[in-house]
Every structure is written in C-alpha cells, then in structure tokens.
Subunit: 307 residues, 2 copies
Amino acid sequence: MSILVVGSVAYDDITSPSGSVQNILGGAATYFSLAASYFTQVRVVAVVGDDFGPEQERVFHRHSIDTRGIERANGKTFRWGGTYAGNLNEAKTDFTDLNVFEAFHPQIPKEYNDTEFLFLANIQPTLQANVRREMKQVRLTGCDTMNYWINRTPKELAETLKLVDVLLINDTEAKMLAGETNLPRAANKVLAMGPRALVIKHGEYGATIFFREDAFGAGGRPFRAPALPLEEVTDPTGAGDSFAGGFMGYLASQKELNREVLKRALFYGSVMGSFAVERFGTERLQGLTRAEVDARFQVFRELTHLE
Amino acid sequence: MSILVVGSVAYDDITSPSGSVQNILGGAATYFSLAASYFTQVRVVAVVGDDFGPEQERVFHRHSIDTRGIERANGKTFRWGGTYAGNLNEAKTDFTDLNVFEAFHPQIPKEYNDTEFLFLANIQPTLQANVRREMKQVRLTGCDTMNYWINRTPKELAETLKLVDVLLINDTEAKMLAGETNLPRAANKVLAMGPRALVIKHGEYGATIFFREDAFGAGGRPFRAPALPLEEVTDPTGAGDSFAGGFMGYLASQKELNREVLKRALFYGSVMGSFAVERFGTERLQGLTRAEVDARFQVFRELTHLE
C-alpha cells in the first residue's frame, strides 16, 4: 500500500552541542517520507523553490519516494534555523523564512488519487482538511499539529480533527488542546473531538497510544512504547516526524488495522525517532537498512518485555 | 525471606486538589513497609514520640509487620505538611517538624540480625552506612537518597553508595548526583560509584533499571517499566517509597536474583506506586489484597507487551 504525506520540505541551519550544519535538507515531509520509506511506497506533496535541485531530489528517489507532488515555485525554499543547548529537549528558533511555503496550497496529482493512507504533517488546519476531503479512497488518516494552530486557529483545527483517524502530538500539545493537565483525561477529551486513536509522544520516555472505546478492537485500553535511553543525541530535529513516518509507514504495510498492529506501529515510530536523532538532519535516515530497523525493534521490545 | 527498612515514621498534613487531611500516618518507612508486606515479612527500624499509640501500631500489625525496631522517644513524632497544586508533580512543603527524628540513631534489635534484605530509606548517609555495616547477613541492600544529601553531604553519600546494591532515585536526583544531563550517561556514572543496579523513577512515565555490565546476568542491558496513565491522582505522597516497597518486597520473596526477577520487581514497584496515589496517605496500601496487586501487574504488563 502507498502513503501520501503533505507537509514541508526545507533547508535547515542547526546548532547543537555536537556541532553546526548549514543548508541541510529538512522539513516534516522529508523526515516523514524517509522514515516511512523503509516500510511502504511513499508519495509527497510539498512546495520548494528554485534552490531545490537534482541533488536534493535524488535523496527522495534513492528511497523510491514519488516526488511528482513536489511543486516548484518561483522563489526560495522554506528555511529554518535552530539551536539546541543543554538537555536537547527544545530548540531555540534562530530564524524562520517561510518563502514559497507561505503560499503553499497543496495540489494533489491525479496519479495520487488511489492512495489509501494519508499523513497531514504540521500545516494550517484548513489546508489539512481540504486535502483530506479531496482524497476519496483514503482508509486511514494521520495528522500532526502544533501549539501555534491550537492557539490561533482552534475552530479550524476542530473541523480537521473530525476528519482524521489518528492524531500524533506531544504531551504539552495534548494538554493545551484539551485544556487539561492530567494526561489520560486530556487524551479522552481529544478523542471526543474526532480521532479514533491519539498518539502522545513523551520524548525520551517513549509514547502512549490512547484508543476510543469502539476503535481498532482495542476496547479503549492504552498502550505504551518506550524510547531507547540514548547516550548520544546529536540533533533532535525531525524526531517527531520520523516517529510519524515509522508509525504510519508500518500501518500502510499491513492488511489489517487492529490493536496489535497499532502497538507494533508505535514501536516502529519510536525506533525511527531514535535513529533520526543520532546524526544531523536526515543523514541517519538516509543510510539505514530494513534489517537495522528490525534489529532495533527487537532491542526496544526487549527493553520492556517480561517473559 | 524478611526485609528490614530503616527510615521515618511520621504524621502528615496534606492538601491536594482532592481535599485536605490532618495527622495521618506517613513517613518513608510506613509507606515502604505496607507496600512490601504484600510480598514478604517486613521489619521496621524507626523512631516515634509519645503521640504514637496502639491505633497506629495496629496499622503495621494488621500487615504482620514486625515493629520491635520502632523506638519510643520522649517528645513528638516527626511531622510534615505539604500542598500539591496543578499537575501534582511536586509538593510545596508547608512545614517540617523533625521532633524525635532529629536525633534518630537507628538501633537494630538483635532479633533482626538474620535479615537478608535491607532498605535504607532517605536518611543521613552516614546513618545509612552504619546500618549496612552492622547487618552482616544481608544479601541485597536497596537505598534511597535526595537532593539535600547529594548537595550537603556528597562525601558521606559516596561512602554509602559503595555499600549498596541497588540505588532508587528519580531523574533529577540521578542527574544531580552524576553532574550530567543525559540520563544513560548519568546512570553509568552513578553505577561507577558503587551500586550494581540503579533504578531511576520517571514519575508518570514509569521507571528504568540500569545494570552494571557484570551484575545480575543482565549484560548491562537496561529495562523499563511503564506507569499506568492514571485519571485520578489524589495524593502523590509516598509514591516513591511505595515503589521501593513493591520492588524490594518482591525481590525478598524470590530465591534467585537475576535480570528477569529484577524486571518483574520493577513492574511491582510501579504497581505499588500507582496504588499509593489513589487515596490520601496510606489508605489504599492498607486495604489491598495480593490478588488486586497481581491483577494490576497484568494490566501493566499488557500496557507494554507485544505478542
């Protein structure tokens, strides 16, 4: 099965305690599609500028990622600069130049119409909703969002949430969206807004998936996947999008979508997030093999598995 | 097998969003021994004042806890008052009246000399070390400490750490003790100070046990137990001591101490911590059955178990 991701492609300048890099390929759709490519065929809808060339395109093509949905616009590609200090949990944004991304209106190529899995990366909620409505054959939609949209466009976001199956956000975003400090209570409130399942990412502590009572045969019982305790975190950029890529990519590779499959997907999300942060940008995600992915899956399983 | 705990018995005044209680039985040794009593025979060394009567003693005796080591001193029992607000993660201390606890010098009754498992709750490190040296037949020693001792008595604490097998502390304490912000690197530094295993408690995210390469046949591979996502937290007081009671109590009930047993102990610790916070003080820990404990163990197992 194939999966379509709609989101940003960007150039990033990143500084962390491990060093500095400039003009490296980034953006949510890039991290997502590379991570998902280890599981399934990936299609991308995004916008780039004149400065996006064959070298960048080859990164996608080496992973058999379909780039026909990457629109070329006049101007520069989205650029972001950020600095991580101390415990690496949060980036200080040095600059955000939206450039061609500012006027991004996702255009879905006709050839993508039969896509059955859809991931709406973090863009304006109404754009997310429009894409979802256009894709008539989608079986499962995943969605990301952020504090900015939760605060600025709550009505639009509420409309989008009615259209998605799985929302993937972090603790802070879940509590803010629900207006509730207790995590399971926040989860129940978010599930009442539309999604059948909610993945809450806890950073270095892993992630929990909460289910609606009637969804995926899960009987509303949550499930938690750990994160690997990592001694070396080089660059946390894209960890959440890589998580989403592993999670959604694995789902798109499966025939049935039941609780057991969603549990494994949560582990694969955690696995891909853990790879992403080992090197700057997408370097680690570009050079993996499926065998390495599955070996780390076993390490994660052993980390919480009782005989 | 029996286990000896050395620590505080106290009266607490607690306020949380769920209400207020005064003069309820508390203290690290109380929470620990009640939690451990579901697994093994418990002995207590502590000090109380004139205000500790038969009613309080019956709480211990109903759980077959041996109180011959609870010394009666002239004066009042240790009193603590605290308030929890918002997300319940941290108490604001309203008052600390050490009273008879200020001059606490643990006296081990002769009848306790054959104890094979020892838990040194959070008291001055030199007192902890003295108890450990006195107990000649101990097979495994667990130990707690806190920021106060890490900052004020680092040398004394370093001596104590050489004598203990398992240290149980939280993320902040581990990072402070190691002078290191990365958790697995902090764990390695703490293990180099003496303990063969280190349990780091992550609050609502569970706990991770790190092992020295040569310890418990674990090959240095860490293990993580989840915490139950709880919708209702009434009173977090004693959660860490209850965790330690479940962890150490389960170990004391086992013949062999290998990685698999320590993994299960970590789950039982998480289970007892989750019960403790459901009601004020020790109320929930007083009224459990072993069947309820094992039922929640299965819930926790299912929370992270892949088929």
